[in-house]
Amino acid sequence: MGAALAGYLIFAVALFGGWELAARLAVADAELLPPVATVAAILWRFMHDPAFLGDLELTAAEVAVGFLIAAPLAVSTGFLLGERLHLAETFNPIVHFILAVPQSIFLPVFILAFGIGFLEKVLFGVTHAYFVIVVNSFAAVRSIPPPLIAAARVFGATRAQIYTRIYLPAMLPLVLTGLRLGMVLCIIGVLLAEMYASRHGIGRLIFTWGEGYQVPELLAGIVLVSILTVAVNEAMRLAELRAGRFYARVSAA
């Protein structure tokens, strides 16, 4: 635990320290590598700029909507496949095939079909999140140890009780892992779509800054997105851990 914390600290120091050092030593043009303070100031300005916040909210909305559509659909698909194995035999190969294919390649088709608005971004995010969550939910159902179910039956548990008191805690960790991975992929999908062709959104902003060599703004945007996505990931990971511990307690009982 201590080593991990030390690792994070050292990484942060090395990253920002190295950055500042390189900027000071004028390794490159001040325009290409501005000091940390400059970028921090820009970031601060952004947080009070309604236009910027508007773009940020739009991206967040696209991600949220995409995830909220994909998650229930995918989890139920995974569960269905897990329960009806004959369906799994047909559909699992398809799901795995799609996962093996780089889905990002289909972005142009999405644009041809749905334009470059909110809907297209959301749908692109949905497809990215969907398949990963299906696979993990499927695995979650299959991971329930039969002795657990048998024991429940012996003790006369009703169907509802079996689902809530036994299936759910047992499956939760894997399902949550799938959701976390789905979220990560959804974010990647939405940002990519915005960068590629869009009028609004953080992805578009960042890409425009890149095209315009506006490095200070660019760095500010990158730092912000990185912090936000890591925060989301860690929050979901925490939930996973909690669920895992809970399950350990339940199964040990």
């Binding site: 294919v101 142009p108 644009i111 041809l112 990560v184 940002l191 890149g210 990931n233």
Partner: protein, 250 residues
């Protein structure tokens, strides 16, 4: 009718249905290219696409070589030290959550939109899974093998190359699979975003012109590339997997 012929018939029927669906206007030709459109695109601009394919292939090859080398070497070194490994693995896996694609505009500003920025981005994408899996593989090696290496007087280099590396190989290879997949996607996607050439560039270019046939042809080529790389990796995986399975069953 044997299974082989049956599959061919099914495939032929599918292609025919696909052609019909577009020709009959059930799905707009702008969204879904008919097989005939794709073939037409290939026929008219085949040479351009082949050149682009070569460009992309070279970028991918270069990125693969660098990713594998960097990832494995860093993984071997970090994995050998318990403190280094415990300190760096959490950081490395947290970075995984960052959508690396947002770094591409920075690379664009710094390195231009030629092959260099693509390769650098691809190496960045593929590095982490390779390194992380290598670290795991090394950490999983039982101490008795290292004790054995010392007892027969193996030098440091010999221990790494002839004992640690082969023992960690199964884990390394699964890292290579994930990492290489990310390298391929990384190159093609960055080509789509901003490039001077390559398959991704052609796909984007033709999309803006609504040449759906060309867009799909490009996508087919890109998918072929991804599949080819994947098949290569599976072949490697299988060779390694053979002795790993033997070991587990013994």
């Amino acid at each position: 009718m044997n299974a082989g012929i049956r599959s061919l018939v099914v495939a032929a029927v599918a292609v025919a249905a696909w052609e019909a669906v577009v020709r009959l206007g059930l799905i707009s030709a702008i969204i879904l290219a008919a097989p005939s459109d794709i073939i037409l695109a290939a026929a008219s601009d085949g040479a351009v696409f082949v050149r682009a394919f070569a460009t992309t292939a070279i970028e991918i090859a270069a990125a693969i070589v660098m990713t594998w080398t960097l990832g494995i070497v860093v993984g071997l070194i970090v994995g050998s030290s318990h403190t280094l490994a415990s300190a760096t693995t959490p950081v490395l896996s947290s970075i995984f959550a960052v959508p690396l694609i947002i770094l591409y505009p920075l690379l664009m500003a710094w390195l231009g939109i030629g092959p260099l920025s693509k390769v650098v981005f691809a190496v960045l994408s593929g590095f982490f899974p390779v390194a992380l899996n290598t670290i795991d593989g090394v950490r999983a090696i039982e101490g008795r093998y290292i004790a054995f290496a010392r007892s027969v007087g193996a030098t440091r280099l010999q221990t790494y190359a002839r004992i640690i590396f082969p023992l960690a190989l199964p884990a390394i290879v699964s890292g290579l699979r994930v990492g290489t997949g990310l390298v391929v996607i990384g190159v093609i996607v960055t080509e789509m975003l901003a490039s001077l050439g390559g398959i991704g560039f052609l796909i984007s270019y033709h999309r803006t012109l609504f040449n759906t046939g060309h867009v799909y042809f490009g996508m087919v080529l890109a998918l072929l590339m991804a599949v080819a790389v994947n098949m290569g990796l599976t072949a490697i995986d299988r060779r390694i997997g053979l002795w790993r399975m033997r070991e587990e069953n013994s």
